[in-house]
């Protein structure tokens, strides 16, 4: 009996089923189950309770504060990301690799260390605290501190999405545009931007999701005053500690929905613009 031909690079059905089950079981156990718990706990108290929690002035203030912090931090990091990617991808200079390492650094710094760092700089026992207090400038335990911490933890997101993409695209198109008489800004707007727009959007999305969700760094330098310096993730902790578990999970569910929305847009972009994203897909 001749054996049935099997493609040598094709796994056997048993192996496929085994590996597939392992993958799905692992993802289900570690990633999906916690997600289900969030929504299960959030709706335990019924829709009415969820609604009261959401419309509570303190919750709304927390949502507002988180959004304000993100609205300041994300555009700043986006401008930075574009500038950094432009000089790194389009020019050669000494120390470039080191610069890339430094840009990556905030990503692997523990959020708690980020909070600590700003306490050491702007705290009353730190470098600038007393001087700034003399001018009545409040950084820590107020919006500026929360924004600074958010900028730090989301620092490399846009830059790291753009750098490989722009390195890959080279500089021929831009050079052609410039030799035809386009100004630098026109070149960027008409030539570079269309090439990187999806990667850019992708980076902004990730940056935004992380900005809304930051906990450790903000926790160290927020005043934890409800209605004033409590961000959404901190409000989750506050409600949790106030015996309002369901409320905590309701706010957690809002944050989760924002995260899921980010993922959905991201997946949509990947599906719709797969080719353009391919270059940056090493993520």
């Amino acid at each position: 009996m001749p054996r049935k031909f099997q493609n040598p690079t094709e796994d056997s059905l048993t192996l496929k089923l085994t590996l597939g089950s392992i993958a799905i079981a692992f993802v289900g156990l570690f990633l999906v189950l916690p997600l289900i718990v969030v929504f299960h706990e959030a709706f335990k108290g019924g829709l009415a309770h969820a609604w009261t929690t959401i419309t509570d002035p303190d919750t709304l203030a927390a949502i507002k504060l988180s959004l304000i912090a993100a609205v300041i931090a994300v555009p700043l990091n986006t401008v930075f990301g574009v500038a950094a990617a432009w000089c790194i991808a389009k020019f050669d200079f000494w120390g470039k690799t080191f610069l890339v390492t430094l840009i990556d650094l905030p990503f692997s710094v523990s959020p708690v260390v980020v909070g600590l760092v700003y306490v050491l700089v702007f705290g009353m026992q730190g470098w600038l605290g007393l001087t700034l207090a003399g001018y009545d400038i409040q950084i820590l335990f107020a919006l500026p501190g929360i924004v600074l911490a958010t900028i730090f933890v989301t620092f490399p997101f846009v830059a790291r999405e753009l750098i490989p993409l722009m390195v890959d695209q080279g500089r021929d198109e831009e050079e052609a545009a410039v030799s035809l008489g386009a100004s630098g800004f026109q070149t960027f707007l008409r030539v570079t931007l269309p090439n990187i727009k999806w990667g850019l959007l992708y980076g902004i999305l990730l940056c935004n999701a992380r900005a809304l969700g930051e906990f450790g760094a903000v926790s160290v330098l927020s005043g934890h005053i409800r209605g004033e310096t409590n961000t959404m993730p901190l409000h989750v902790q506050l409600l949790y500690d106030n015996y309002d578990y369901t409320g905590a999970f309701v706010v957690a569910a809002i944050l989760t929905l924002l995260g899921l929305l980010t993922l959905a847009i991201k997946s949509f972009l990947e599906w719709r613009y797969a080719d353009e994203l391919a270059a940056s897909h090493r993520h």
Binding site: V119, F122, G123, M124, Q125, G126, G129, A133, D136, Q138, I139, L140, F141, A142, L221, G223, H224, I225, R226, G227, E228, T229, L238, Y240, D241, N242, Y243, Y245
Partner: protein
């Protein structure tokens, strides 16, 4: 005008209730009291680093001493400025056990037995945990005849039975009540009553033979109120805490009021037990803090082993 009150962990409900009563007493709608709650030590740290608080209402004097010493926001003799050591209410440390007290825990010596899970926060960051530690120390000292080595051994065995060390009192309550960890929670009296109210029929309070008189102090931060122009309101608020009306609210939230009349009215919910004090037994908070809770202090040595 917003008055910022930086407080310790288990006063979340209390200051919410007091805030509305205070606003009413002022007959002014434009005054809001905002309270931040966390472990007493972490709150003091935040104030020292520049958190803009008008008043602090912390778990113990040592934390406000640290603010006076390090950040100089108020004079060193702050505790003499208000009646009763600046503590409008007192409290103590009690045991919260599961319904029916299945392990039969009656007193501190039951807690060092093998197999008993004791839940208490980290004395390094939580005020209530420091009161609980000193209460245990005082009991052991009395039972074992003022022998420091034996006392330390007793307290050491107690902490060997601790499976989770949260950073604040509320975290420990959540661990014990919601996560079902441990057999006994060393709890603020008010926190224990609140747990009973939150989950009726699931827990019981046990009063040990001896505990400690906890005096959570309140203070005005002079430098901050003068800069923010809130001194008058802040002073009014602290004075308000001593009024019969506020004392009632405190009693209803299970803090022991100083006002003898109010205390008498609520005497049923505050059983009289033997209470030691930090001043009489430990030479005041400054000394107790340095001996037991400072870096390389007794607590560190207990856990360092």
């Amino acid at each position: 005008m917003t008055l910022v009150n930086v407080s310790y962990d288990p006063t979340r409900e209390l200051y919410q209730h007091l805030a509305s009563a205070f606003a009413k007493s002022l007959k002014a709608d434009n005054v809001t009291l905002r309270t931040s709650n966390s472990g007493s030590g972490s709150q003091a740290r935040a104030v020292i680093d520049g958190q803009q608080a008008d008043v602090v209402t912390l778990a113990l004097a040592a934390d406000i001493d640290a603010i006076a010493r390090t950040a100089k926001l108020l004079p060193a003799d702050w505790q003499k400025r208000l009646p009763q050591n600046s503590s409008p209410y007192t409290s103590t440390i009690v045991f919260l056990v599961r319904k029916g007290n299945p392990k039969g825990l009656r007193d501190w010596n039951d807690l060092v037995k093998p197999g008993v899970g004791v839940i208490t926060p980290n004395p390094k960051t939580s005020g209530g945990a420091r009161w609980a530690y000193l209460a245990a120390w005082s009991y052991a000292g009395k039972q074992l005849g003022a022998n420091d080595g034996k006392t330390r051994d007793f307290v050491g065995r107690l902490y060997k039975n601790v499976p989770v060390l949260d950073s604040g009192a509320r975290g420990s309550t959540v661990t014990f009540t919601k996560r079902a960890i441990g057999d006994v929670l060393l709890s603020w009296e008010n926190e224990a009553h609140l747990a009973l109210k939150e989950a009726p029929g699931q827990f019981e309070i046990v009063y040990p033979s001896r505990s400690i008189l906890a005096e959570p102090p309140v203070a005005l931060l002079d430098r901050n109120v003068d800069r923010r122009g809130t001194r008058a309101v802040a002073e009014a608020f602290l004075k308000f805490l001593y009024t019969p009306e506020a004392q009632e609210i405190q009693a209803r939230d299970f803090f022991r009021p100083r006002d003898p009349k109010v205390l008498a009215k609520y005497s049923k919910q505050f059983p009289r037990i033997e209470l030691t004090t930090v001043d009489s037994e430990f030479g005041g908070w400054e000394k107790a803090q340095a001996t037991h809770f400072a870096d390389k202090g007794v607590f560190d040595r207990i856990f360092g082993k």
